[in-house]
Amino acid sequence: MDKATNWSSPRFYVPAIVLLGLALLPVYSMVAGQPFYVTLFSRIMIFALAALGLNLILGYGGLVSFGHALYLGVGAYAVGILSFHGITNGWVHLAAALGIGIVTASLIGTIVLRTSGMTFIMITLAFAQMGYFFVVSLKAYGGDDGLTIDNRSSMVLFDLSNHTVLYYAILVCLAGVFLVFTRLIGSRFGMVLRGVKSNERRMLALGFPTFRYKLVGYVISAQVCVLAGFFLANLTKFASPSYMVWQVSGDLIVMAVLGGMGTLFGPVIGAILYLVVEEFLSSLNPGWFPKVEDVLNKHWLALMGLFVILMVLGFRKGLYGYLVEREQKKLEKRAQS
């Protein structure tokens, strides 16, 4: 059943290999003379972090939030607006981001969690769009054009202006949140979330006031996205309404689905897969006839769509979800024989 650590399980070796690979990537990028990889994978890890956060309520709570980009925006604008006013201390940025995040997520959560199913999807989308148009209306902070951030948050002890330090800061947060979530989903709180996903009516009849647990899950999930937004603003030195646009919320869901919603590490795999393929397709340069290349470069998004469709059809439980499921079936067979 719940054995301590099974080294040969994909639940263990996949996250271990991926996190180790990410830890070594800056070395490779230096050796290969491709500093661009550090930036690319910083961005990928930021979205992996956000997808990991979203998946807590999506994959474990069964709550399809179509508005988590809002919280990326909260994190990014906390950095942007404070920097604009000359406050450069990164710890202040982080505290402000998480503080505003907790208030926003609690208020919005209190409202959206009164609904379920399709209504929940639509109302989370509506709140995210409200956030989007709110920052667009902030003319003093760039409005539509976004807000340039002169310098990255200055964190005592960590020099985020160094790409590599920023990279590792993101990696540590990603690994940290992953490990915390591993414990979380097996705790009493995690069991309640999973029970709500499986059968909320039964949970109520058993005596769980499910609303408050869903709300706390929603806030935790949102806060991880706020953290991702904080890093996104630092990476790009820019806070833009485009971070909060509804497609971003959709991307996060696609990432979770591609990797495996019902799994913990799936969204990380999904984010890497999605953004690497996106990067590859958008700069496709196979050296074929110029005309073909022209079409490819213009319409790479169509290929991206095709890729997502094929992945979802091929791996219904996501790529990582598939590995985990295969192992589980093997174990069950062994138990029966």
């Binding site: 059943m1 097996g186 705790s187 709180f189 309640v192 009516r201 009849a205 769980f208 006031p209 647990y213």
Partner: protein
């Protein structure tokens, strides 16, 4: 002896239909009170009002000396009302043991504990194992609920209801969809519970009802037309007309 559960002039209307029509009855501690009636008589509507999923339009429900007419479903559960459903409401992704552990957890303080592995907590494991043993699922604890047979789901449903140490069980057709043999087992099981809990039993299986009940209320079109001991009900001409007679003809 004061009643454990007492219902006073309960009314529930759905548009023009009065699904519960001035229903009164009381259940003493340890008593098995069966509710029978033809299809559409409003039995499940009544149970849902007792459990709190539906709110009555008029009347009151007192449980263990408190007015619970306005209490929510979880509040009633925590006060000691345990409900089992006509259609099994279980957690299909979990094993039998996890299903019951979650039931125990609901009544073991709050669940804002974020790090300690719940599945290794003895305080949850022990009562869960005991409840599963009680209903005869001792050797099926680690089977995922989705892989269990229908009869086992009914047993699991009961185990989850018992695990919260209720004072009163609301059993909505516990024998629904069971084979003859499974039904007989369930009757034996419920006989074993008799006296320990107050039980409100809604059931179609008349043999089961007459074997278990101390008192029987007959519900027809939302109204209780008779209430008495199983023998009184069996010999009541109105009941024969409205219900038992029908059934004999049908059989």
């Amino acid at each position: 002896m004061s009643a454990l559960l007492s219902i006073d002039k309960l009314v529930k209307r759905f548009g023009g239909l009065t699904a519960t029509d001035h229903v009164d009855f009381a259940v003493a501690p340890g008593e098995v009170h069966a509710i029978i009636g033809p299809n559409g008589a409003g039995k499940t509507t009544l149970i849902s009002q007792l459990a709190g999923e539906l709110h009555p339009d008029e009347g009151s429900i007192h449980f263990d000396g408190r007015d619970i007419s306005r209490a929510t479903v979880p509040e009633r559960s925590l006060l000691g009302l345990g409900r089992s459903y006509q259609i099994s409401q279980i957690f299909r992704d979990f094993t039998a043991l996890q299903n019951v552990m979650l039931a125990v957890q609901a009544h073991a303080g709050h669940s804002f504990s974020f790090f300690r592995p719940a599945l290794r907590e003895a305080a949850l494991l022990e009562p869960a194992r005991a409840a599963l043993t009680q209903v005869g699922l001792a050797n099926r604890m680690h089977v995922p609920a989705a892989a269990m047979a229908h009869g086992e789901h009914r047993q699991l449903e009961l185990a989850m209801t018992l695990a919260i140490s209720p004072k009163l069980l609301l059993l909505d057709e516990p024998m629904a969809g069971m084979s003859q043999a499974e039904s007989e087992e369930m009757v034996q099981l419920l006989k074993g519970l008799k006296g320990q809990y107050g039980i409100v039993l809604v059931e179609h299986d008349m043999d089961a009802v007459f074997a278990l009940a101390d008192r029987v209320s007959v519900l027809v079109y939302g109204r209780i037309i008779a209430c008495g001991t199983p023998d009184e009900i069996r010999n009541n001409p109105d009941v024969k007309d409205a219900y038992l007679g029908d059934q004999e003809e049908a059989v």
